[in-house]
């Protein structure tokens, strides 16, 4: 069988984080799940388009931030959507 070129370690981390968000979204109400999936998908794809794949420092920063957001999202009382949106709005301020 044909095989895809091996994914780099950082690529695996990104995909694992994406899987984590999708798994956690399953635990929410159907409406909330749909919203979470839309927001998460849009943000991952936007970053995939706009970030230089060799900008490891920034990618690792985003991975750390994403993992924190995922941990917050796992809290049953948190829907997560507004958190993601707020972070999105203020993201430019985090760039130094």
């Amino acid at each position: 069988m044909a095989s895809r070129s091996k994914l780099s370690g950082i690529q695996r981390q990104v995909l694992a984080l994406y899987r984590g968000f999708l798994r956690t979204a399953r635990l929410k109400s159907p409406e909330e799940r749909h919203r979470i999936e839309s927001v998460v998908s849009a943000e991952f794809r936007e970053n995939a388009r706009n970030i230089d794949r060799k900008n490891f420092v920034y990618i690792e920063y985003l991975l750390r931030r994403g993992k924190k957001q995922l941990e917050q999202l796992k809290d049953p009382d948190i829907t997560g959507l507004s958190t993601l949106e707020i972070n999105k709005v203020y993201k430019p301020l985090n760039l130094k």
Partner: protein, 148 residues
């Protein structure tokens, strides 16, 4: 070459060519075949007859492949008339690595299985996905995903 091989396999297995081709692909990894056939034999009381066992195996495989194709069409928003083959690669169908993650997650829910990270990353074709699904379903290797 592929056509001739398909014909040979079809003749031996007594299956439709499409299913036979799928079976031939699957047979490259003997441990998977053995697991699947053993389970089917135990479950359905089949005995030593070669042909019935292979026929059941092919039918199950074809059913899984068909379901996988349906889900891939949905996930990638392909038209119903899109023609997929078991050896179609997700990347050939326009999927990037994020799409592939979504496809695997959708398959997990459909078949009530959990695909481990390493297994998920080794899936690049529809046949890959169907083989792994049959293995997990037959072996009880996965647990149902957390209830929504």
């Amino acid at each position: 070459m592929a056509a001739a091989l398909s014909a040979v396999v079809s003749a031996k297995l007594g299956c439709p060519p499409a299913a036979a081709l799928g079976s031939w692909k699957g047979s490259r990894i003997s441990s998977r075949n053995l697991v699947s056939m053993k389970t089917m034999t135990a479950r359905r009381g089949l005995v030593s007859l070669r042909s019935p066992r292979f026929r059941v195996f092919c039918a199950a495989k074809a059913e899984t492949v068909g379901k996988v194709m349906q889900i891939v069409k949905q996930q990638l928003a392909l038209g119903e008339e899109a023609k997929l083959a078991p050896e179609s690669q997700f990347t050939e169908l326009g999927a990037d690595s994020l799409d592939t993650v979504e496809i695997v997650m959708a398959l997990e829910e459909e078949f009530g299985i959990t695909v481990e990270e390493d297994n998920a990353q080794s899936i690049t074709t529809i046949q890959d996905a169907a083989d792994l699904i049959d293995k997990l379903v037959a072996g009880g290797g996965g647990k149902p995903p957390a209830a929504a």
